[in-house]
């Protein structure tokens, strides 16, 4: 009875073939869904198989945006419709796009007046970090009023997910994500690992 539905039957067959349990179960599930989609693909009609409707609708969409933006830019020149934004192209690597003030960019460690890090190695950021990219080694500070300081502060940008939790949790305002640097690309993973010295350079 329940297997009379052809879709249901195919589903059961697929589940038999793609066992959604055991190791890599998730990957297998994805595979299963993909196969499911492919096996359910609709046959094209004769008109559709000429591809004329798809080509026309594509040209229509592109032209719509082109003329919309073109007319808006012309109107902007005459000071009209200024509050309706028109699409702009940024010449990115040569001219970086302006960042919002609160956007989260590469981290830095803030300094005390004497140039030492404000960080007291309380391990809050290390604890809260969901990517486990911060590794702090604490040590005894010679000044008993500071007591604790980070002997080493390692931040692996290769692992970092830029969630900003470390900044939010810091009780000393010692770590900030306001350098405005986003174009962090390196040829090796090791170079993505920032130590205390690198994080304190602006």
């Amino acid at each position: 009875m329940e297997n009379s539905n052809p879709n249901q039957q195919r589903r059961l067959e697929l589940e038999k073939y793609f066992d959604a349990r055991g190791p890599f179960a998730y990957l297998r599930l994805v595979q299963m869904k993909r196969a499911w989609k492919q096996s359910n693909r609709r046959e094209l009609t004769w008109w559709e198989s000429t591809y004329i409707p798809s080509v026309v609708s594509g040209i229509w969409l592109t032209s719509k945006h082109f003329f919309h933006n073109l007319s808006l830019h012309i109107l902007h020149v005459f000071g009209l419709f200024k509050d309706v934004p028109a699409a702009v192209t940024f010449q990115y690597p040569e001219k970086p796009r302006p960042l919002a003030l609160r956007s989260r960019t590469r981290h830095r460690l803030t300094k005390r007046e004497d140039g030492s890090p404000r960080c007291v190695a309380c391990m809050m950021c290390e604890t809260v970090c969901p990517a486990r990219c911060i590794e702090i080694t604490a040590a005894e500070h010679p000044d008993p009023n500071i007591e604790k300081y980070p002997a080493e502060f390692i931040l692996d940008l290769g692992k970092c997910v830029y969630c900003g939790f470390c900044v939010e949790v810091c009780p000393e305002d010692a770590i900030r994500m306001d350098t405005g640097k986003l174009n962090i690309a390196e040829y090796s993973r090791e170079n993505m690992i920032y130590d205390k010295k690198r994080l304190m350079e602006e």
Binding site: T127, T137, P144, E147, K148, I154
Partner: protein, 529 residues
């Protein structure tokens, strides 16, 4: 025996019991700073105030004796308001430097603030600063007077438990501060305990200071292997942040309550003697400067035993067990060497010099399981010293030593002669020591924190140890190594785990009868006479 009601629950307790003790019996938690069950009552922190019906004022639970028909309320609005106010007073001059404080995470100020405080600060003045922030008051402990709430637990500990009276509270009002007496240092043998009893971060452990945050720690119950007292401890370890402490796993040891053995305390020697778990370990089997596999190591050993076994020359094998091994290890030694292979020269008494001792927790016998070794291996002749003497004269072909540093015990010359005269000198140990240099075959064994088993202390109490983590490198538990050897010798002694070994012990040895891991649990069981 007065009857009283606490929060609607009825209980009958002996006369002279205080309200806090009765509440503890009922499982009702009353906040406390100065009260500690093992110390005399001071009644100065005032956080434990409760409402007693028909009494106009709130009473402190730690110093009010129970009376017949008493009705106590511990969560009435009046009590909660009092707790909040007391906490506000205690925190007036507290620096709230939790980010740099080692106590953060296990601090009672933090706990009770989250539970009962939650007020906004009303302090308009500047907090009173002390002259010095954190300073050393002895070889093991740092003091921070600003964090201190003057509960005087440490003062009473030094006055009543160690009777060394190092601490005092000086000056008055908000200038009063805790300190050691001028010219004195906190250097008694139990100084580490003041860190445990300090409810705030005023006293911190130099050994643990800044090493690891307490919320990273995992805890495993264990027994201190430092001496035959067998103090109950908790091994606190961390494997998630190896960068913080040079890949060491054990961060600190803390005493665990056992009223029959160590109460709440442990000595400093035991407390700080845990570095051997991670440092200086033998990690792989070694045959004359060459690292080998377990298969080859056990094979070499079996090849030496077999010809002797065939020729019936078991008197040319000497086994020196150790009282540092667990009951399970010793039982498998007995079963394999004494019962199966019929070797008569099996003993553990190497004649170590007795260490220092006192009449509290430190015992002269520095082995955790001497009583267990005597119960299992017996005091048969010849003893280990005689076996060593025989080995020195070349009357022994195979000498199998468990853990003893022979160079330290018998001198370099003796061990050198053993190295020359014995065909195979097997040394099974967890840490590198001088004797390793003279052994032909070195077998790495795991330390107590990596093993499951039992120790029998000087009171004949059998106590359990639990494995905290996997053995380092290729090291194995002592009885597991012997189990491998027994398979190679064709007389397999197979167990699925330490629990099964212990079942076998309980089944075969009268002293251990009716014992099991479940019954021993975390408080131990006394051996039968």
């Amino acid at each position: 025996m007065p009857n009283l009601t606490i929060d609607g629950k009825k209980i009958e307790v002996p006369a002279g019991t205080t309200i806090i003790q009765a509440a503890d019996k009922l499982g009702i938690d009353i906040p406390r700073y100065c009260y500690h069950p093992a110390l005399p009552v001071a009644g100065n922190c005032r956080i434990c105030m409760v409402e007693v019906e028909k009494q106009a004022k709130l009473q402190i639970a730690c110093y009010t004796p129970v009376a017949e028909g008493m009705v106590v309320k511990t969560t009435s609005p009046k009590v909660l308001e009092a707790r909040k106010t007391v906490l506000e007073f205690l925190l007036v001059n507290h620096p709230v430097d939790c980010p740099v404080c080692d106590q953060a995470g296990e601090c009672k100020l933090q706990d009770y603030y989250m539970e009962h405080g939650q007020y906004d600060s009303r302090l308009a003045d500047v907090k009173v600063k002390k002259e010095k922030k954190a300073f050393s008051i002895g070889p093991t402990v740092m003091l921070d007077q600003e964090r201190c709430i003057l509960c005087t637990r440490c003062v009473r500990f030094a006055d009543n438990i160690t009777k060394t009276s190092e601490f005092g509270v000086f000056d008055r009002g908000d200038h009063s501060q805790l300190d050691v007496y001028p010219g004195k240092q906190l250097d008694n043998k139990y100084s580490g305990n003041v860190v445990d009893i300090c409810p705030v971060g005023a006293l911190t452990d130099k050994d643990f200071r800044f090493k690891c945050r307490v919320w990273y720690l995992d805890k495993t119950n264990s027994i201190c292997p430092g001496c035959s007292m067998g103090c109950n401890i908790t091994v606190e370890w961390d494997k998630t942040r190896p960068h913080q402490h040079k890949k060491a796993r054990v961060m600190r040891l803390k005493p665990r309550l056992n009223p029959d053995v160590n109460d709440y305390w442990m000595c400093d020697v035991g407390r700080y003697d845990y570095h051997f778990i991670d440092e200086n370990r033998i990690q792989y089997p070694q045959l004359k400067d060459e690292l080998i596999s377990w298969g080859k190591a056990i094979g070499t050993l079996a090849q030496t035993i077999k010809p002797l076994q065939d020729a019936g020359r078991m008197d040319r094998i000497g086994i020196i067990a150790s009282a540092k091994l667990t009951n399970e290890d010793l039982f498998v030694i007995r079963k394999l060497f004494k019962d199966t292979l019929k070797i008569s020269q099996v003993d553990f008494r190497v004649g170590e010099k007795p260490g220092d001792s006192d009449n509290f927790l430190i015992k002269a016998d520095k082995n955790p399981n001497t009583a267990g070794a005597l119960a299992i291996l017996g005091d048969s002749q010849p003893d280990a010293q005689a076996i060593i003497a025989k080995a020195k004269q070349g009357q022994i072909d195979l000498l199998y030593v468990f853990g003893h540093d022979l160079v330290k015990l018998f001198g370099k010359d003796t061990v050198e002669q053993i190295y020359k005269n014995v065909k195979l000198f097997v040394f099974q140990c967890s840490n590198i020591n001088d004797t390793c240099g003279y052994a032909h075959l070195i077998l790495p064994s795991s330390v107590y924190a990596e093993k499951e088993g039992t120790f029998t202390n000087c009171q004949q109490r059998v106590q359990r140890i639990w494995p905290a983590f996997f053995p380092l490198g290729d090291s194995k538990g002592d009885w597991e190594i012997l189990s491998l050897l027994s398979e190679q010798l064709g007389a397999p002694i197979k167990y699925r785990g330490s629990q099964e070994v212990f079942k076998d012990i309980a089944g075969t040895m009268s002293a251990f009868s009716q014992m099991s891991y479940e019954k021993i649990a975390d408080q131990g069981m006394v051996l039968k006479k």
